[in-house]
Subunit: 260 residues, 6 copies
């Protein structure tokens, strides 16, 4: 079966950088997958993507060595199975707030006896290999999100669930549930939670991941995070267009051209 | 009928900046249309977009004041009519190399007696107003491309065709047909052609446009161009991801973080 | 943030009329949204619409002042979040039969501390404004359906749940569960339930809504309903085609033309 | 091969009524095809429909006895072949202004030796029968549009082209090219052209068709037209919503309800 | 209402053969539905199909007498209702491991008082008849899957749930949960479970179904199975291409052609 | 740039086998591309495929070493450019009946000075390499179809056009225009034409190709054909289902099982 090179890096304690996909298009996914990132994540929760387009995105990513993850809309057995059968090498599951919810997430990602995933890797067997059944429980990454104050309180029980490969911090929801505005880089009590999660992960042998941007990557790396989102499709279009308008209008350095 | 604010600016000799859409998605189009550009162009020629998705892109752009143009795959009557009926406020037509071809382009964009466009603005009447028939010949922009050495040789005859509002220079094809590699900023003989086109446009009262980027915008503006593409959806994703990877890895300023 | 003009009218006790969208197409949605209705509802339960097309419908509606609601397939956290992030200004939730189910519906619609909606208004922030987080809990309408005898029995507990803005009566299911055939205007015990719901809503300060048609609107208005569906896309095609065939064949007034 | 029941009626001089499909959706097409019309026409010219959705519309119509026609975007060989292979039983071709153009239209609709259509009825053989090749030249309707003053001037040469089964009048374009505003029921010189076309058709044994509405059907029937469009999908949604709003608000009969 | 001819055959104890649809396309579905099978099943669980495409597949199948089933992704109320409203005549529900889960499946398939399905057969009423409400509880097939060791242990309680028309054995998952590799024709303890299920079904008057292939059909028929999948869309493409390559290369019978 | 391994084989005089794709789905394309064929062809002429889906099919094929060709609907500049920009490594062009038409086909496939293809390999540069411009004129296969009696008469002039890499025989159309029923293996005069084409190709150094099946491959190989279609997606589903039904019912070997 295809090796999950991201899990390999995590096993070696190496950093992995990811790109976020909110645009429902196989072409934007293909472009992102060609940029040298370790992984990309198709966001079916807050992204504008549903399964049928996600499938074509997975196919487009499949022509590159970049590892495809999918964030599912919710911790629901059916959709987790569907995206894995379509070729996702990992699943990010929102709002996991208890060991019970983490166990449900793992169960959806693993074949018996490690879980109760139903067998039928209709595309995955083409993408990842005909020996998919033997390798899947090892290669597929199960990545619950830690994004509420409640989840932080229950970190130990969640991280103790066998089969959790990594957790992914959602800074916006974590901030909100801690009484802060949504943000990626809030102060206390967000900052303490951010550090606490990384430490707990280290203690449990679970990889710590976080939704971020390129500027925050080094800070997160220092704290122990090894799965960091640094770029996004829709965000790049907006950021770059704003920057390009400034350059074109000369306002990037204060000089405005006059025409006509 | 909805005013084509881009044509208004052209009439006043003002610069207009555009964003290029190659990703077949209504969401990336919506994001781009919210960035403050004067116009966006859905590229049905080299972009990965066909009519059915272009329609949803036009609908998404329709909630903003940004003016939507469409580059059609070819100078073909049927598709020009279809994109106009779907709400495009202007059409960029590839590879117009003669007055005859320019006349065909104009005919497809204008109702009788200015042309022979067929009437049926099924969506356009919702988007641009129920008085569409009265205003369309005035508000719709017909924009042939000048992108071959042959077209440059025949500039006067092409620019003399009534109904040509602007021309749009395709630097890659123009470079190739002048014996240069495809590029946006080649030297001679590209440079002379670039200047010659702008001057001929000024002489004929036709707006000069060009495919470019933000860095080249000022240079084109000085030459007389008033329709300049400065940003693109797919390009931004690639550029930004590359930049973000450098920032994240610390290679933007030469410092590479070490983890693990 | 964009004002929910329908909630404004409800606050003033004014009637609001809605159009129903069962056809999975951004164009039929755009046509309906241009007719002067207060709101339209994309029906993802019994309509033929799934998320990916619903997104394009929301985008098309977004160019008009008409307020977009979505009826989700089921009281499920994931899909409620997805349609809100895509720009729905209200959600109609089927088969809410208890306070517990109503609380789940509210939780999915509201950010902490009013609920547990996950933050990521990827399109909604473009459509409704960049200050979406501050306004969403106020502007988004949470509208559980009352459509079983059981729900009528538990009206008080359901209407007492904080965050329920309106309830929407499903006459077909309510009729069936009361032992009647599916219908919009059945006699007893449907009639008593219909009146009882409106009165209970008035007592709890919750807006009463109902699936209906234009002919029943006045009757419902008199009973206190302020959210009434009066037209539908697929229904109109069928009704109008039938009527047109009668007119064309002369059978509308008894005169049949004979040709040939 | 499946009998084209519309051509059968035309052969008997009987009227046939049609429904117009501008919405790109297989469901609206299916609804329309169930209303008892003789034929429906998928409009790929001014409708918002491209081939891939048209295919699903043809499939949905295929479960009813209603005969599916397609109006192609232009008199272009490739798309005429594609819609016929997808199962259209007739093709309406825009802007046929000469015998030469009519011959091109016929050639695209007929196999050798009657034309030069390429063989490959990939879906049509399932829909219309495995003996499709033997029957197609007989059953498929080739229907050029007469919609310019020039075409009216050349009626005899156009109607003399073998293989033209019917012509379809486009009143809007015909009006425009005659110097009138676009309309379905203009006065002179539109009226004379309308009558002239029907008479010329009768003289040449070609069926006369016209884009209309239910109210105009009898008038057209009296003039000799036997193919009349009387209803449309998008139009019905708009018309019915307007009517429903009036009924609901009580303004249909002058009585406006007051609530709140 | 349209008669479910598969349920008729089951009532007479007759065998029914099915085709499996994993490709998300209305055309492959239409091709399969024309081959003379009793039923086809659109697989929304392990197939690459989501609702919006499944709708067009149901429409395409609807032009044939073949009965359409849908396997839903999971035992979830919303999606079961959606596929039934779209015209499925039966639903296969994965991983039903208890009477409680079987009751939930039945409830989603049946109108009150037999269940709690919500009324709104928007397409089904066109496909299956306007008297759909009266016939649906009888004609719709509810088919839970038996595919775990746990389910086999609880066969009697599951088969005792009123409204279960058939059960469908998933050999791969059943094998896995019995400690075997995924397979369609494993030895013990799979073989005993396979026989036990058929016998229990016979005892409860429930039809026994199984995922299989043509070669296994006779064996299953002898054991009492009356619902057997014998062919699949994606599988056929792969199998036939492999066979065709062998034939073309002459390796089918050991003779390899040499060219060039 | 990615090497066109099919052209390499042709240069060595080796046989290449192809699979035909008529189903509009990226998944069926992916399945076919994994079967070990030299090339697959997406059929946009008689297949049920339009550009937007063809793009996703090209992306799915792109994860395999199989070379993707596209048959365009017609010899039209716009669509040839679009499929090449989307990553097709070769184009099959229908109904090329003269040197002039062959030159038009070549012009659409080659950059200046070999042709007049417009530059913008938006996806192709990702799929085939960033040096696409330098390699494309060499690697892209231009493959006109020879499928009429007229084309056979003009073989020498067509095969003399520089840039024609191969020709592809359409046996059905060739048969029809020679007065035979459509078929792949007709007698005279089809047989003579078939042999004549292969010989003329050999004389001109052009590869001979033909639409066929596995059974005919050896015969065509002996005649000199080196590009032979041997399998197809939709055909395989139908053939295999028919075969499976016979096996299941025991009629493959004359034994029919009796159940019930």
């Amino acid at each position: 079966m295809r090796t999950n090179t991201v899990k390999e890096k995590w096993a070696r304690g190496e950093m992995t950088y990811g790109g976020w996909l909110s645009i429902p298009s196989s072409f934007s996914a293909e472009v992102m997958a060609h940029q040298g990132l370790d992984w990309v994540c198709i966001d079916m929760q807050h992204g504008l993507v549903d399964y049928q387009v996600a499938l074509t995105m997975l196919q487009a990513i499949g022509s590159t060595p970049t590892i495809p993850f999918v964030r599912v809309p919710w911790n629901e057995f059916g959709i987790i199975g569907k995206v894995l059968d379509a070729g996702a090498m990992g699943v990010i599951i929102p709002m996991v707030n208890s060991a019970e919810e983490a166990k449900a997430a793992v169960a959806a990602c693993r074949y018996f006896p490690d879980g109760s995933r139903s067998f039928g890797p209709t595309r995955a067997a083409y993408y990842a290999g005909s020996d998919y059944f033997r390798g899947a429980n090892q290669e597929i990454a199960c990545i619950p999100m830690i994004e509420t104050g409640q989840a932080v309180d229950r970190l130990d029980e969640i991280l103790s669930v066998p089969g959790v490969d990594a957790v992914y911090v959602g800074p916006a929801d974590l901030s909100i549930t801690l009484g802060l505005p949504p943000g990626m880089n809030n102060g206390e009590p967000f900052e303490s939670a951010r550090v606490k999660i990384a430490k707990a992960c280290a203690a449990h042998g679970v990889t710590a991941g976080i939704h971020a941007n390129a500027q925050l990557a080094a800070k997160h790396g220092e704290a122990g995070y090894r799965m960091v989102t640094i770029t996004s499709d829709a965000g790049s279009i907006a950021i770059q267009a704003q920057a390009d308008l400034k350059v074109a209008k000369g306002t990037a350095d204060g000089t405005k051209p006059v025409y006509g």
